[in-house]
Assembly symmetry: D2
Homo-oligomer: 360 residues x 4
């Protein structure tokens, strides 16, 4: 109930601080009989691993996952899957300077307000390393979704004023550049922008888009646990996310009903929609179209400029953050967005198994 | 688990279809000893009641709430509070024409895909009347928040291309106009726009903003059950919401860290922030500033133009919706946004009672 | 979270006090498409209704159930089923004498200790009327179990020193006598015993046994949510229950492994057990044999003798309870035991739908 | 939702198979600021460790716990506490003979029925090693209870026909003999009985009693989450438990109300009870007296006699179990009973923090 457990059927319990012994996740409720290996999960973790470009920290974190339970002879057994990644490269000394002051834009102050004190080393539980558990668990969910033929992928569409040109959209490009943008030219422009920000000791916000393909119609619960509500919940729970859109998102404000409604038609015997303003969800339930989600990521709060702040003892102070910090959060968060989407969809798909009468 | 229960400590179970006998909510986990009356709850329900202006349906729904349990001699007893509103004015005949076709933009198709059939009368469980349970329960939460000195209010900022002018922001104005806008001039412009849309048999989207004042720092859980994640979840669960922003929302995409970070300073012995880009939440936990939420509402999908669609038997068809439908959803949803925010905050406040050691 | 919600998939939220306007239950998560009527539910409620014999109170409570939502054209829609029973015959005046003293064996003192005050009228939420919501919801669960061919029935085996003779066990007899005993001779002896106790202004304890037939193997979760653990939880949650046994229950203390193990054998191509000491559950999961549960019910605490007690203001006092009270709780609780068993089994059956891989 | 998570506020997620890499638990919702160390937790684990006497297996399992998260500078931080115990001494080869047959009295058959296959090595998830996670988590709960001055201890009262003589009850004796009996003479008699059973290749059942001292009145939820219901749930969830009693338990069947009611009186300004037939719980809420729980443990199902059974392929077979198995389960389970009781009480105590109005 301290909110580190996610899901209703597929329940994920994550744990771990930046500078503790390890971080990890326990997945309870994964169906039995699904092929799962450390190698498979590692491919997802490698995408959030730092040190892969100029835009992510150079720490040597191998981030190798171990499966400790729930898998036997290469298949899930139906019992909890415990996964662990050791914290190998941390140097607690690096963080002693932030022990007594609150970093602006970070959770230092709010953790102290909530708990009375905090593990100040590297952000503790509010560190980006917390997402390792999400990605490991998300990989399990992805494997479940594979069985349904559902595919999830995300990418960065906007960095500062640079937006992708959708006529140049190239899915293959996403994994080829370190900013995970589906448009090589936009990537180059964004790179330049980020280089300038690094020089300026500053950081950038970004927008991430996530697409879910192959989604059957009929998934999601009609009132509180709407598919879009659960997606908003899961993706807003990623640190640094400040906005969520489904389908046309905030553009619906200016739209009229006749513009926004997606008309139905029959397409080769299947119900189809002429447009997809809804982003694949109607009344909280999937309508069979692609699900489209967008998330706004704030700029990395750890900037190297001098900033005003206060101490834990209530005195005005200045802080100059040192160390290694990404100038942008979103690229490494792309796989986290995919993971949270996968966990959400898998959970609601499993929940859907009990919604119809048995005679059907 | 069909997702009609909200909350972890303060649990709300809502029920009811548009054309059933009644709609209602059961609130479990409300602390004992809080003053609560039907009159108090009614003031909230009256704000979502239809028939109050040209922009809401003319049906005579009295929507009077009855408290059936959990209150004794004017105070909550700590046991479940059951509240009920009878459905009085429905005429099932009105809806027979939509029995066999799927209305574009509605949940007709997705309910059928999920459950195999649906209560087609007036949208059944996906009707706007579903929000009565939310508002009744939200009123209980508001009463809890009063004890903490927390205040929640929402209003419409944008309708189509009409936006409020923040220099004219007047909180008292909100309850004076039927569009719940805090700027009388914007209200007039929006009225004109809506009049034209009604003539056009069309409808409009809108943006709603919600402010939470008096929030103590330290509320919210650090990982999945972040305060912003729970707010996104609860407000996205309102039908027709397609986007959620906290604080600067999607504007963070273009911001830099030095622009977006809120610097701390000491203000009369209290930790304060020079700005509030974060919208009152850092790391998923309240930072003591106002909480700022914005929600995008899609245009009413029930428009009176002829639309293409398909039948439940899989044939192309046309539909011309009849009856009475609001040309805009957001104004009557303002109190629903407040209600969901109140339920979320009250739940996390109660959850917070167990986060610190006892010796403190 | 005040603990008035039961279940994981099939969630039941009950509400209501003895002397409020009504009592009821909301069932969320019932699959769509199941035939359900008020008449069906009423047959269960009629079995717990008071006033049917010398051994149950003479109050005229009609206890007629209304279904307010979740059923359309005679079938469940998959949305919450709200059921309500009005409280018609209460006379609050009857209870004013217990406002200021704590009745021994009742929850008066503990409610006050927990909440600071209580609805003292007829026990409020701790009244036996609280079980109406359980029985109404249990009827819904029974209807689900019918689809699986699962049958649940309970009966009284022991009242004071009177035990049924299992060689005379006659299932048809159960509904024929007001003590719900499956042995007419034992019923007659128990009647005599109860008559004497009534004369003595006293009351009796009893034992109830519940059998679940047609249970498929493989239902139940292996660790905390074991089938037996969930049954113990649900049935111990019925007021007055002080003991629970599964299968051989406390007799296993004296047994050896060679006596207690149920050997397997093949029976017409099916795995079968030579004995059923386990009561149909191994490792928390059903083994395909009959499930056998026993519950010990304490004597009615409302006895008409003078008893020592204390006042709410902390002074020694005497109490002489007036009014109408059953001299035994168990017979009317038989249907409550069945209901809680049904809710437990249905919930775990629905949960089981997500435990296996999809390729199978 | 595969049922490996326990609790509402204090949530425990356990994981691990007998022959996997490790077993462990994650505790979410532990208040911040509580002193906690590996040494403290280890004292509890050492009590369930095998190899300590003739009556427990001789395997050399060091069972050393590591705290991986949630503790900083010796105090809990409020974030999830992950604890891990490596499996060091297993020899998978030992178990190949049970791969294809179902052991009577074990969960082999039911796991196969549920999941389609199983990790057959040493019982997999249904092994007694599963309780390591419970005990590690229980130790955290014990530490919370210390802050409230609540004490929990359990012991064995009956083994076969040997019962403790309550006039010889000696709490100090419990930890002095390997059967955890509070009566040395009974221990000696039980030893003789067990020696004979070992010779006979057989095993014994037993009864465990658990006492909770220092419990404040007012803890527990009035309907489904009654304190006794939660205790029954948590303790019945321990493998091999077939019966649960609270207070007088099954003796209430023969009691009358005048015998069973505990009369109240004032004792030095406090409400007290003349007797404690209720076992410290009235209406599901603690009444301030000692809480008394008894559990029946079945005999170890792994006996070395030849037994009839069937193969996974549906053929009659015989099995002769080899290896090292305790002739009795209960003694090593004593600390597991205490742990589950501690988790239950701590969870309901934390839940209780939100039940009263704030003005009090």
């Amino acid at each position: 109930m301290a909110g580190s457990i996610f899901g209703n059927i597929l329940k994920v319990s994550t744990w771990g601080e930046s500078h503790g012994a390890a971080v990890g996740a326990v997945v309870d409720g994964c169906p039995a009989g699904i092929a799962l290996s450390e190698e498979y999960i590692q491919t997802f973790l490698d995408r959030r691993k730092p040190g892969q470009s100029d835009y992510s920290t150079k720490r040597e974190e191998s981030d190798n996952v171990k499966i400790l339970s729930g898998v036997f002879e290469g298949r899930t057994t139906g019992t909890p899957i415990s996964m662990l990644v050791e914290n190998t490269s941390h140097h607690s000394a690096d963080y002693s300077n932030i022990k007594d002051v609150f970093r602006p834009g970070h959770a230092d102050y709010t953790f102290d307000a909530k708990y009375g004190f905090r593990d100040y080393r590297g952000g503790g539980r509010s560190s980006g390393r917390e997402t390792i558990g999400r990605v490991a668990a998300g990989a399990v969910a992805m494997k479940i979704l594979e069985e349904y033929g559902i595919e999830i992928f995300a990418y960065v569409t906007d960095i500062g004023n640079v937006s992708i040109d959708r006529t140049r959209f190239d899915r293959a490009e996403i994994l080829k550049n370190p900013l995970y943008m589906p448009d090589h030219k936009a990537y180059e422009e964004a790179s330049e922008y980020l280089d300038k920000l690094i020089e300026d000791k500053d950081s950038s916000g970004a927008k991430v888009e996530c697409i879910i393909k192959g989604m059957p119609a009929g998934v999601g619960e009609p009132v509180f646990d709407k598919l879009d509500a659960r997606l908003a919940y899961s993706i807003m729970s990623i640190g640094a996310v400040k906005g969520i859109e489904i389908g046309d998102g905030f553009d619906v404000v200016k739209a009229t009903g006749s513009q926004n409604n997606d008309e139905f038609y029959m397409n080769e015997g299947e119900v189809a929609k002429k447009t997809n303003h809804s982003g694949g969800i109607l009344g909280g339930i999937s309508d069979g179209s692609d699900i489209i989600i967008r998330a706004a990521f704030k700029p990395t709060p750890s900037i190297f400029r001098k900033q005003s702040t206060v101490t834990v003892n209530g005195q005005d102070a200045e802080i100059e953050i040192k160390g290694r910090h990404d100038p942008i959060i979103a690229p490494r968060a792309v796989v986290v967005v995919e993971s949270m989407a996968a966990l959400t969809i898998a959970d609601l798909l499993l929940m859907n198994k009990s919604c119809k009468a048995f005679t059907e």
